[in-house]
Symmetry: C2
Subunit: 606 residues, 2 copies
């Protein structure tokens, strides 16, 4: 199957119509659906917008929406036909030949399929006379027509070549509709396909549709099966995104359009369209790079040393030191210029084929970052995640791999039982939470876990793990449910690296003895742990003494401890998964957040 | 009836437990419900928190929540009793003697009222032995017990003096429960009353409860009837707020606690408790004050002159000029120091008793602002609305009224038909939208209209009119559904004054001829108007020529025009309500917003 044409409804993106068209074109879309209100607010005439679209390489695939047309009394029909002719005027200027007519929600309408079909046929005749066509769509909340099967019965009854169906995945799947019957509809009657995903929510379907739609792959609908049926029926139009989402509506349209394009490419891949080479298998983290100012870097180095890491190398040309322990590697880059700064600048994964990983990333709308490097240095490819973190694809064992950029200075010591990186936790910018998950999924081949929401001291937080098939790479995405305002914790957008440790309690005892900067956890937490889990008193006292936290799920137990913050947002964690514990200790996150705030408030003398 | 004790659950407010207690005390609460997770994250021991509360004048009225206790197999009962004893330890230290037990949602539990009653009696015996009591609450989503009637049957069956009911308005009213039967419950069995309002939403009740509760008077529940029944039954405990709200959870707790207190006072007033003198009748706007830098003030003055206003006076001691036209008065204050600045600094309403208005404002947690004034100046009282706008209470006709602070410099000219101020439109800070409505309601005696949501070019916006009984004072509150991020329109937080005009079209023709800074509305808007309304062609062309906008509702028609922006956020509007049009032309707001952005982008040369 060849690549289909790709469209996006202007309503998916924020800004003026001009902003939206520019963003859609820049992201590589072939066409747009023009949402009427976007045009109405524009100072450019429809003809000028048409020219603009053609200049940008965009076709105008649909004009929408035309509401409340059919099954009305004669006087109202006359008004509606007049209204339609005015819109045909606009479409003519735009260079659009397809209009979307939504099933009526009007109190004027009657429940009469024959009347609806007759009036739609009249509309189709008018359209045909002007070289246009009408795509009739069943809204999930249509007054009488709210399933695609019903809209198809009416279109079939109207039997006019200029009248066909528009299928919108949301309207069908939100009502648990069965997309299998789509295959029975003749392809030439399928005029348009609108794609939208959504999280599974138990709420009024109109509100769900207007506020919470997502791009494909960001929600829980099976769009591949749906779109597969449509293509199998013989649909030849574009794959078009129509997503109403409160966050996207106010986010920068340029990255949002890229996100949209990525979602479409991933869907196409699921449909068997060869848009990208498959994601290579991953095998854990190669390294994580922390970027800090020199003073904070010194504290980070002391912290890593306390956790049992050894400084094992220095970069041949950059102010970067390599720290290691049992397969966990951390780079400390001291190029940050603002004091009190540390952040995760990059993470690197072991890929079975780094070049293919890079090619896939480019095909998935994540271009390889330009990178300065010395003449002898390894050709590492990296892409930027939506939060700006660099993602490298590595083959550490290769002779000319990234390690050759470092001069070895020492061999790792015995350490404290750290064997690797369990996960990297990244707080995502508010506008990019769903995009981040899609990035991990499409570019890295990670699969999303369930979203967990919890009440933290400074607002609701959500957490979503992304994990590869062998659980060798986990990324924990975090974000707030409401964009942070002025009132906020001392710690904004925290990030951390969690190291796998064979014995967190033994490590914790050692850290306690050595005076390491372990985050102090309050007694109240342990009193509650006692109430909830009834742990053995000796274990409970050890946890309390060493500030080790505890969680349990159906698969097993979780022991973990946090360091204090280095700079304003970065900390480290040691974790131990006993048996098959699958989570991230999220239940303990509010306690950790309050403790980090105490650390910062104490440090700032407040 | 005397003033009851007032409590607030710590979960209503953002921050650490210490932040929350401080905010609750500062707002005047008598007690708190301590939410367990707030305590667990605190480094202060329960005993220390108990001392802190007493030092702040707060009693600990409830410890909550204790979940999934009742109707379980014997082994689980032993665990649960052990867990309860640990929590009694905590309560003892806190100085709390009442624990909230929520009806079970556990898969371990069975549907057996007798077993539930027996086990709750056992728990009550344990509590009694420690001088404590248990308040049993039916969660709306309880597995077996989800109505207060059912929880009361179980409590009655358990028949223990240390076991009573906790009633939560949300859990009853979200399920359309009938609060009338509360009157049949003996007062001594009503241990606790939790108050929460909510907007009417059609969604999963647990999600509704956890994210969307509001303070009393901010939603659509009839809390007065509910609480009245509880008091009538003989309840003597505190009126306590328990509100889970995503926005309040991340907003500054100090104003949020004041908002909470105000909501409680208004509810008490509805219950017939004499907390404040009634709101005096209002009779329109006395004036609106615009604060601008001198250059922007000059442009504003030119704009007002173009709209037919006359500069009629100057303040005796301050850089403030008075402009008038047919009962509409605008003050221009030139004390702003930042260029390109104009904002609505204050609005003033005519009160039938300004001193009583001020006393009511103070009783409703809105203290009178301190104010510098000269020895001869009128004693105007003003309070601050949640967005910082000053609100003055005036009696303009009084001999020593505010007009006496001005030296008259001219008498108003003929003007363009402006007769007064129709409404003032204020964009509210994201965290304070619901608070603003409650302020208008409780302090000014305005009633809320329906919230209208609409898609604007840069995100979803909501609009809520607040209006007095005679429609003499209207305030339009605006806000975004999602807090604005970096990507945003040129116009942030727009504000405007809408003047009533007897003939907007005639005024518009005049303005066009005079070259006034009227906001230019695009042709596309008029083409759509034509399609939608089929206006007479001459009318349509006049509207188009003069950039007059049009709307229609069940009551009548609306003609309005906007000026360009003065500074970065303020503009003016002329409005004409034909017959009984009740809205604010919100349907046209997106067109206006896009046009203002064009004005700003053009001005900045982008």
């Amino acid at each position: 199957m060849s690549e289909p044409r790709r469209s996006i409804a202007t309503v998916c993106l924020s800004g003026t119509l001009e902003d939206k068209l520019a963003a859609a074109a820049a992201a590589g879309f072939d066409g747009v659906e023009i949402f009427e209100n976007d045009l109405i607010a524009s100072a450019a005439s429809p003809a000028e917008i048409g020219v603009r679209c053609r200049d940008l390489g965009l076709s105008v695939d649909l004009y929408q929406p035309f509401r409340d047309f059919e099954a009305v009394p004669p006087a109202r029909l006359r008004d509606n036909l007049r209204r339609a002719e005015r819109k045909f005027d606009v479409m003519e200027q735009l260079g659009a030949d397809l209009v979307l007519v939504c099933s009526t929600v009007s109190p004027d309408a009657v429940d009469d399929d024959e009347l609806a079909a007759e009036q739609l046929r009249t509309l189709a005749q008018r359209a045909e006379a002007r070289g246009m066509r009408v795509a009739y769509e069943a809204l999930a909340w249509g007054r009488f027509v709210n399933t695609y099967e019903h809209s198809w019965r009416i279109v079939r009854r109207a039997d006019h070549p200029a009248l066909g169906l528009c299928l919108d995945t949301f309207h069908v799947l939100s009502r648990d509709g069965d997309p299998a019957l789509i295959r029975t509809i003749p392809g030439e009657k399928l005029f348009f396909l609108q794609l939208a995903d959504a999280p599974q929510l138990d709420m009024d379907v109109l509100q769900w549709s207007r506020h919470h739609r997502l791009f494909p792959g960001q929600g829980s609908f099976d769009l591949a099966t749906f779109a597969g049926n449509v293509l199998e029926a013989g649909y030849t139009g574009p794959l078009s995104l129509e997503v109403f989402n409160d966050v996207f509506r106010q986010a920068d349209p340029k990255p949002a359009a890229v996100d949209a394009m990525r979602s479409l490419r991933m869907l196409e891949e699921q449909l068997g369209i060869p848009v990208a080479e498959p994601a290579p298998d991953l095998d854990g983290y190669a390294f994580t790079e922390l970027v800090a100012d020199p003073a904070t870097a010194t504290r980070l180095a002391e912290g890593l040393a306390a956790l049992g890491f050894t400084e094992t190398g220095e970069h041949r040309s950059k102010p970067v030191r390599r720290w290691e322990q049992g397969g966990a590697r951390v780079l400390i880059n001291t190029t940050a210029s603002t004091s009190d700064t540390a952040e995760i600048g990059a993470l690197a994964v072991e890929s079975s084929d780094p070049l293919r990983s890079a090619r896939r990333a480019e095909a998935m709308s994540s271009p390889i970052l330009p990178r300065e490097r010395g003449p002898q240095e390894a050709g590492l490819s990296s892409v930027a995640a939506p939060d700006g973190t660099g993602v490298f694809f590595c083959d550490t064992a290769a002779p000319d791999g990234w390690l050759s950029d470092f001069r070895d200075t020492a061999t790792p010591g015995r350490g404290l039982g750290v064997t690797g990186i369990d996960h990297v936790s990244l707080t995502q910018p508010f506008d990019h939470f769903d995009e981040a998950a899609l990035f991990c999924r499409s570019v890295l081949g990670l699969e999303p876990e369930e979203i967990t929401e919890y009440a933290a001291p400074f607002g609701m937080v959500r957490n979503r793990g992304m994990v590869d098939a062998t659980c060798s790479v986990r990324i924990a995405l975090n974000g707030t449910l409401v964009r942070r305002g002025e009132w906020a914790p001392a710690v904004r957008d925290p990030q951390h690296i969690a190291f796998t440790c064979t014995g967190v309690i033994a490590a914790a005892e050692h850290l306690r003895a050595s005076g390491a900067p372990v985050l102090s956890i309050p007694d109240n937490y342990y009193d509650d742990l006692d109430a909830r889990f009834g742990l053995r008193p000796e274990l409970l006292e050890t946890l309390r003494r060493c500030s080790v936290l505890y969680d349990r799920d159906a698969g097993g137990e979780f022991l973990h401890l946090f360091t204090e913050l280095f700079g304003s947002r970065v900390f480290l964690e040691l974790v131990q998964r006993v048996d098959d514990y699958a989570g991230y200790g999220v239940a303990n996150a509010p306690v950790r957040m309050a403790a980090h705030r105490r650390q910062r408030m104490t440090a700032s003398g407040r």
